[in-house]
Symmetry: C2
Subunit: 250 residues, 2 copies
């Protein structure tokens, strides 16, 4: 990957996803949408409701990736510790954020339970990114973006602010083959070596799939992606060009 | 969690899951099954096809958790680099494993493409765990277990050797509430403080769900779990005991 290209890590916080009680659908959504927007997702992590563990991951990811997206653990109960983890990971104190407090007071009205204000305790220097169509703004601390765990709310918020992540899209392509991997492995490696700036993937399909093997090509330079696809096609008898590789159950 | 209780990290390798082109179903399966078997899953990571990145994660997880389960990236093509990453992470060389070579030669027969033998290059000291119902044994390197990325094959292999992970099961329970989180947050925190050896979780449900809020309790000591549930019920008017918390879309 060329320097300066945007990368991302996606962190999902919650004991309930690690126990499998709740199915994590946020990772897949964010991985897919960020890729569509031209951001290379390089890491996805499911983390427990544990401040030091969240802090360690955020502290490692923030300097390593362009964007860090965190989802889950932002409510008012004792097991909502994501913001404390982000604060510690970035070496900032957690403190009452007047603008967030105003938003929460306005949402809950005069009968608000005091515990709701726990959601207004943010890492120092946090910004609130408001957008059309969302009631609560998105919390941003440097390059760390914090989303709720609710898939419905997370998606609404991400889509409302997705412009912050938009980049030059990837160019992708795919070939479908009726072949086994061992037979074509050396040839694939040769083409990968000739086109180091594109990523060539090889994916055997399950026995009930309509195709046996899918070869994918992804890169930023359309001519190089097309060149790699042409080189692959020339050396793989019976290959069927399957058009865009892009997200979807291939 | 008491000392000596089994923990696990689940690592899934593949650029295709990070791009969202392929839906990772292996993390959920392993998280759920390990939890059912009494193992506390503490970490899940999606990793790219990148040897140093895989090595860093494996090197950090192996000493930190009882079991490390890795899935994906074990085929014969250039993008299958999981075993190289595991080897480097554990500080072992990758070398031809005679027993693995024999299994692969017997599977592919005399017309085998030489590239298939790439799958017989394992971290030094790797063991092959054979079991009834699986054609290829599972690769084990110390406490790191390596599974294929194919969900079908991964599940068959995991189930064939699951006895290696069986432990005293968790005891769980749940309450269903028609309440908001801010109102009950202080009370939940009090009960959590009284029962520190159980984990109390609070999960607001999506608007279309039949219940507004689910409170879960999980622990190893059935009496303490029952005690925490009773304390919660006593202080939460309208709570409905929902039986076992166990895996499922709550």
């Amino acid at each position: 990957m060329a320097a300066g290209e945007p990368t991302a890590a996606v962190l999902v916080v919650g004991d309930e996803v690690l126990s499998g009680r709740v199915t994590d659908v946020n990772s897949l959504y964010l991985c897919r949408r960020l890729t569509e927007l031209g951001v290379a997702v390089k890491r996805g992590v499911l983390l427990p409701d544990d401040v030091p563990v969240i802090a360690a991951e955020v502290g490692a990811c923030a300097p390593a990736f362009t964007h860090v997206l965190v989802s889950g653990g932002v409510g008012p109960t004792h097991d909502d510790v994501t913001l404390a983890g982000v604060a510690r990971g970035l070496g900032r104190p957690l403190e009452r954020h007047p603008e967030a407090e105003a938003v929460i007071r306005s949402f809950y009205g005069p009968d608000m339970a005091q515990a709701a204000l726990r959601m207004a305790d943010l890492p120092r220097g946090a910004g609130l990114v408001a957008a059309e169509g969302i009631r609560f703004p998105v919390i941003r601390v440097g390059n760390v973006w914090v989303f709720p765990g609710s898939p419905r709310l997370m998606r609404a918020k991400f889509e409302a602010i997705r412009g912050h992540f938009a980049h030059t899209p990837f160019v992708t392509g795919a070939l479908h083959l009726d072949a086994g991997e061992p037979e074509i492995a050396p040839f694939l490696a040769q083409v990968q070596a000739r086109f180091p700036e594109v990523a060539i993937g090889s994916y055997p399909q399950e026995p009930d799939a309509p195709v046996r093997l899918v070869i994918t090509v992804r890169g930023r330079d359309g001519e190089r992606v097309a060149g790699a696809l042409k080189a692959l096609e020339a050396g793989l008898p019976g290959a069927v060009v399957a058009g865009d590789e892009g997200p979807g159950p291939a």
